[in-house]
């Protein structure tokens, strides 16, 4: 038989198996990924490949005659490109084969395997990795289909569940909390007090909501101006009168100074609330020590939250993401089944096509013979005879084709297609230069953790 049996595998290192010192050494840029892909493409060990490289993982998805040999070759290519010893890579690597490799790819795309459960960035990174491999000519029909399925499952997880929707950072949780009270922020006025790291992160998140106005207050006006220019807002020096005035008009106030005294006092808020006519004010104090007097929350229209509250929101969001895991796992299983079915079809479809070609060839031969013996047949007679002979061919093949398709798809066993090919003598045509993906025997393994040396 001219069929080559091949395996899908993934070999990689991630935050779960490798320390950051190693991950940063094997984190590949686009040029390096192209270099690895070229090495893999030019080998006979790996027929198709995709390299996914992020700050938390390096994974090489491959299709080859042997998963172990392919994994070894892939890590050797990484070692050659990065200068990290191949044995060190092996000690921290994991390998998944067959169905496990496909399932793993889908779990990664859905963000289930990420440091932050359910993060959505990884899907874009996997899409980019696949397109890079496509550009480099490192993928073929199997990986083109596989990665389309992986990306499809990742998209479904994002759109059909809330796995990546809720905020998991304190700065974004602040935006979420403000929106829970005020709704959309595009017609709201936001005040950010401070221009440090945390204030900057929050200001960027608020800026992305396109509020009506965004004012940055800071002791150093230049820093406030720099941040305001970045997020599209106005800058003000930090003074009590300015803040008091801003409180009267603002809908959201975020403070992140932490200078040890209250920047927003109960009196300032009480005075501001007089002119607000019951309009709600959301105050988010993410500084430690706190910038806002906790007493301000005694006013019925003031919603005050500190950093502990925001961490509570983040914890609730993470819990909610974890609740969605069962739904995402079900989508992954559907994706694995769809890919498995496609693989089974690839075994049977060429045989069926060859069978139809054989039937048509026989019909052509018989028709030619008939015309030699009955040369007086008119064009109309020829058409009628051709039509009826084709009808015989199709009726004869209908049942065997239907049954072999069903049996192959149900059992995943390629021998039905092979038997059909052998019965009709199709073997030399259909099996030439074909590969068969060994599918059912999924397995995974990793290096013995005890043998892992400390990185120097």
């Amino acid at each position: 038989m001219g069929v080559r049996c091949v395996n899908i595998f993934v070999v990689g290192l991630s935050h779960k198996t490798a320390p950051v010192e190693l991950r940063e050494r094997v984190s590949l840029g686009e040029t390096e990924v192209r270099h690895v892909l070229t090495q893999l493409r030019d080998s006979r060990t790996v027929l198709e490949s995709v390299v996914v490289s992020t700050c938390n993982r390096l994974e090489i998805y491959g299709l080859g005659p042997s998963a172990r040999a392919g994994s070894d070759f892939a890590l050797a290519a990484v070692a050659k490109t990065t200068g990290v010893d191949r044995d060190v890579l092996w000690r921290y690597a994991y390998v998944r084969e067959g169905e496990d490799a496909v399932r793993h790819g889908m779990r990664v795309a859905c963000g289930i395997d990420s440091v932050v459960f359910g993060e959505t960035q990884i899907l874009g990174q996997m899409r980019d990795a696949y397109h890079l491999s496509l550009e480099e000519g490192a993928t073929g029909s199997v990986f083109n289909r596989l990665f389309r399925e992986i990306i499809h499952v990742g998209k479904r997880a994002q759109t059909e569940t809330s796995i990546g929707r809720e905020a998991v950072s304190v700065s974004y949780a602040a935006v979420q909390l403000a929106r829970k009270v005020l709704g959309e922020l595009h017609d709201k006025q936001v005040v950010v007090i401070g221009a440090g790291h945390m204030a900057g992160l929050a200001a960027r998140h608020f800026g992305a909501q396109k509020p009506k106005s965004l004012l940055i207050f800071n002791r150093t006006l230049e820093r406030a101006q720099a941040l305001a220019a970045e997020v599209g807002g106005g800058a003000h020096p930090l003074d009590e009168d300015g803040i008091a005035q801003a409180l009267a008009h603002a809908d959201v106030v975020l403070t992140a100074i932490g200078q040890g005294r209250y920047v927003v006092t109960k009196e300032m808020v009480a005075s501001a609330m007089m002119s607000r006519r019951g309009r709600p004010l959301v105050i988010l104090d993410i500084a430690v020590p706190r910038d806002v007097d906790p007493e301000v929350s005694s006013s019925t229209s003031v919603y005050l939250y500190d950093v502990d509250d925001l961490e509570g929101v983040v914890a609730a969001n993470l819990e909610e993401r974890a609740r969605q895991e069962a739904a995402v796992e079900a989508m992954i299983e559907e994706g694995v089944r769809a890919f498995s079915q496609w693989l089974a079809e690839q075994e049977v479809v060429p045989v069926i096509a060859a069978l139809h070609r054989r039937g048509e060839a026989i019909e052509r031969e018989v028709m030619a013979s008939l015309l030699r013996k009955l040369p007086h047949l008119t064009e109309r007679d020829q058409k009628v005879i051709h039509k009826h002979m084709m009808s015989i061919v199709h009726q004869l093949l209908r049942e065997p084709v239907k049954n072999v398709k069903e049996l192959s798809l149900q059992s995943g066993d390629p021998s039905y297609a092979e038997t059909l090919a052998a019965l009709f003598g199709l073997e030399p045509e259909t099996s030439h230069n074909r590969v068969r993906v060994e599918w059912r025997q999924g397995s995974s393994y990793a290096a013995d953790a005890a043998r892992r040396p400390a990185l120097s």
């Binding site: 009270v181 959309e184 609730a316 909610e320 069962a326």
Partner: protein
């Protein structure tokens, strides 16, 4: 089977749908969400059958009973839930809407048992009055549901309780807008219902029914909702207080429905 049995069956299905969806919301299990939605569809089919059977038994629009009105509002709430789809049916919005709807459907059964023969001379003006009044009460029921949701979310935000109700309820601002819209619609419809009712009294009974208890309590309800609308537009009062006031308004509407008879003097 008689209509009473169908009614009991529909209430059992409705209760099951409500309990299952509540449990499914707490557990966040997709398979149980599907079953919950299926139960809501079953409850919708049964309540629709009961409601249509009731309508078929009426000789005219004016023959409707207070039970029919309560059942109609409950039916609308299940319809909204079914229209929200599988995901929406297990959301806190649907759960609170249907908690109100189920209460009204139970009330409908109780009121139906006390219903008496029609007593009002029929006319197309009366039919218009009935339709406007029913739609107005429905708008108030929705407004009450949104006010309840607002109070539930507000409570969570005050207590820093960031649970699934917090995550899945719409924002306070959205709920406030929905309650405002539903109240304004209800008040407009109720006003038109009162005008058409008075007009009908003048044309058919040849008297202005201004001293009729039903009219006076309805006018009081309208005054309450107009007060809410004025406060809301002028924003003199905190939103939470306005939502509590909304709940009080609906209690008065229900009291009007339950305790103030529709018989003419």
């Amino acid at each position: 089977m008689d209509m009473g049995t169908w009614y009991v069956l529909s209430m059992v299905a409705y209760a099951l749908a409500l309990v299952w969806s509540g449990w499914s919301f707490a557990q966040a299990r997709p398979s149980s969400t599907r079953i919950g939605y299926g139960l809501f569809v079953a409850a919708f089919a049964l309540v629709t059958a009961v409601f249509l059977a009731r309508l078929a038994s009426l000789r005219g629009a004016a023959d409707y009973s207070r039970g029919d009105l309560a059942l109609f509002i409950a039916w609308l709430m299940i319809t909204v839930t079914v229209a929200m789809g599988r995901g929406g049916a297990s959301s806190p919005v649907a759960l609170l809407l249907n908690a109100v709807g189920f209460g009204l459907a139970l009330l409908a059964g109780g009121l139906q048992a006390q219903s008496s023969a029609p007593f009002l001379p029929a006319s197309s003006l009366l039919a218009l009055h009935v339709a406007l009044a029913v739609l107005g009460d429905t708008a108030f029921a929705f407004s009450f549901s949104f006010a309840l949701m607002h109070l539930v979310l507000e409570e969570r935000l005050r207590r820093r309780l960031f649970d699934r109700w917090y995550l899945h309820l719409p924002s306070l601002a959205t709920l406030d807008s929905l309650a405002l819209f539903a109240s304004a619609t209800g008040a407009g419809l109720l006003f038109l219902a009162m005008v058409t009712g008075l007009w009908w009294g003048d044309r058919v009974l040849h008297q202005w029914l201004l001293t009729w208890p039903k009219f006076m309590v309805t006018a009081f309800c309208l005054m309450l909702y107009v007060s809410y609308l004025v406060w809301r537009m002028r924003r003199r009062v905190a939103t939470r207080a306005m939502m509590v006031f909304q709940v009080i308004c609906f209690v008065v509407v229900l009291s009007n429905l339950l305790f103030v008879g529709g018989r003419l003097p």
